[in-house]
Subunit: 339 residues, 2 copies
DNA sequence: CTGAAAGCGCTTACAG
DNA sequence: CTGAAAGCGCTTACAG
């Protein structure tokens, strides 16, 4: 009835050799240790037969490595993060790592708790879309030499590798595009985690508006747990500011909520109001009219993040010396029917 | 320079007491072991000061438990699974568990590998949306007493707890609805993992068609890695079968691809063709015209899955006796403008 | 009330 | 070429 999994000891006993030898063979050090091919064969055969699986905990305890990478995003059910997570998952498995994940829901305490969990679990590295306020905790982990790569949001020029998208420029291009199309009163509905003056997407918008001598209409919205709240807020903005002829949404879920608001008010896009959203997704592409977007290079973001992390993981000495760098990727404006 | 995390031994030495006592206190067994409040206070204070975190690997090695739950879905970037994952993640953390996840991409080998990984890692339990072909492997794990809950797809009446949705009935209602609206040639575009005769959604469709003496048009599509393939397939179906006046898509991504196909062919919904899709999402709700759907009770699915698993986890003796049960939840037909 | 000790399964320096 | 032994950090039966 004992269904205990076979240990390295069981193997050794069965074959009447020491577990050292078994361990060497199973870890591919047979050559290095010049163990006879015959013995190697015997051990491997027996391991297969018994269905031997090394206990990761024992190994982790001994080596201090776990082959687990912690992935922390704002919300795994947000298509942007879900897509990134999928690609990361894929690449990471190819390299023998596993992913353990969590959603911060933009709650700093939650984020901190998870960071703690990552530490306790002994993850080898972390990929984090941080919330404001996690700065100190992350810095502390980095200081301890834990490989960490940030993405989506960044902190000041702290010593953490970060993969970003050029939000300012992306937003600038969106505004410029609307201006070129002849829209006069272009609003920006933006999530403001931090102060609006510090949000790159808002900064990009303001710069374009100033450069082209237009009037600025910024509507910063706080982060909300429920989607319907956004719909209502945007409906209100739209109905209270009739002269707006174009509106930009700073994230995909704001864009989705915005579309719903526009529909509820029975406004026609782009006749009554032109629409551009940050982030692309199925809805924007298939919607009638199709929605113009500032698309983030999802694939590239994911790949850059992973490559950066793997490089750090593989090279623990260099990682301490190498200065942290921020890699900034470009967005692309995809013009469709809504603008 | 030694940044090693403090161990229970460090604590014990520092306070000049045995690590047994420290362990008892830190595990809340102080009362039970009748350790003096004074000592408890001292230990807790010191633990806090040193920032003590128990090493999960040592603990896992010792206790055989890991507080990790493995979550396996078809594709984490699919909104259906992403939403479920999010809710599961949430509930599970509340109970002190962590989630480690992976996407099978409907590849049995991949699924098997991950199952293996779950075992090796020593997860306490698994939540799996299985692919065909994982049957034996899952049965083996269940036989070993590993708590497992399946969802989304099921196997014959094997001894594994499963949370399902009443796919037959959901599809039946969709067909019935279209018939009542007066549509005559109602097609079903369905994913067929298994033989079409064994797919519940197809069975439900056929039953309704037979009951109402209509003509059956089933187009089974194999699982594909790329989305564009579906769009093309559906375009082809639509243009080769002009007499179809209504079409049902059996999953959300088929529905999305279907919409794109309909758009490309410049067909008007519902005038040229009525559309109903399985699974609800933002796109279907916001699309113009809004798409009627057979919605799965996502929240309820996630909750039932988790509750079932937690019950098994908490009660390891009973779990062996309790017969495996399949819980079937109802879908709801949401009629919108497309039908 | 508290502690010494064994042992979970592994890896690895050391010895031969 | 191969093995005996220490030790990673924890929990827990056992002893007092």
């Amino acid at each position: 009835m004992q269904k205990r999994k076979p240990s390295i000891n069981d193997l050794a006993k069965k074959l009447k050799i020491s577990k050292t030898t078994v361990s060497f063979i199973l870890n591919g050090k047979a050559k290095e240790k010049r163990i006879s091919d015959e013995l190697v064969g015997k051990v491997q055969k027996e391991a297969l037969k018994l269905g031997y699986q090394p206990n990761q905990f024992a190994r982790g305890l001994r080596t201090g490595r776990t082959s687990i990478i912690g992935l922390m995003v704002e919300d795994i059910s947000n298509p942007f993060f879900a897509s990134i997570a999928k690609i990361i998952e894929d690449k990471v498995y190819l390299n023998g790592y596993k992913i353990i994940y969590c959603s911060t829901e933009n709650d700093t305490n939650r984020g901190r708790e998870f960071l703690n969990m990552f530490t306790t679990l002994g993850v080898d590295g972390c990929i984090i879309a941080p919330t404001m306020g996690m700065e100190t905790d992350i810095a502390a982990m980095v200081a301890k030499g834990k490989p960490i790569v940030l993405f989506d949001r960044k902190f000041g020029n702290k010593g953490t590798d970060t993969v970003m998208v050029d939000n300012k420029q992306g937003m600038y291009k969106a505004v410029e595009h609307l201006i070129e199309r002849g829209f006069k009163n272009i609003a920006l509905v933006a999530l403001a985690f931090d102060k609006p003056e510090k949000e790159d997407r808002i900064i990009g918008y303001r710069k374009a508006i100033t450069d082209y001598k237009m009037v600025s209409y910024v509507y910063p919205l706080p982060f909300k747990a429920n989607y319907q709240g956004y719909v209502e807020d945007i409906q209100k903005i739209l109905s209270e500011n009739k002269k707006l002829d174009a509106i930009i949404f700073s994230t995909n879920y704001l864009g989705v909520a915005g579309l719903e608001a526009v529909n509820k008010l029975n406004l026609k896009i782009p006749k009554d109001i032109a629409v551009v959203s940050f982030d692309d997704n199925d809805l924007f592409r298939i919607n009638k009219p199709a929605i113009s977007v500032v698309a983030q290079p999802i694939e590239e973001i994911a790949k850059t993040v992973i490559d950066t992390l793997l490089a750090k993981l593989q090279n623990s000495t260099a990682r301490k010396k190498a200065a942290a760098k921020t890699i900034t990727l470009s967005t692309s404006l995809i013009v469709r029917e809504s603008s």
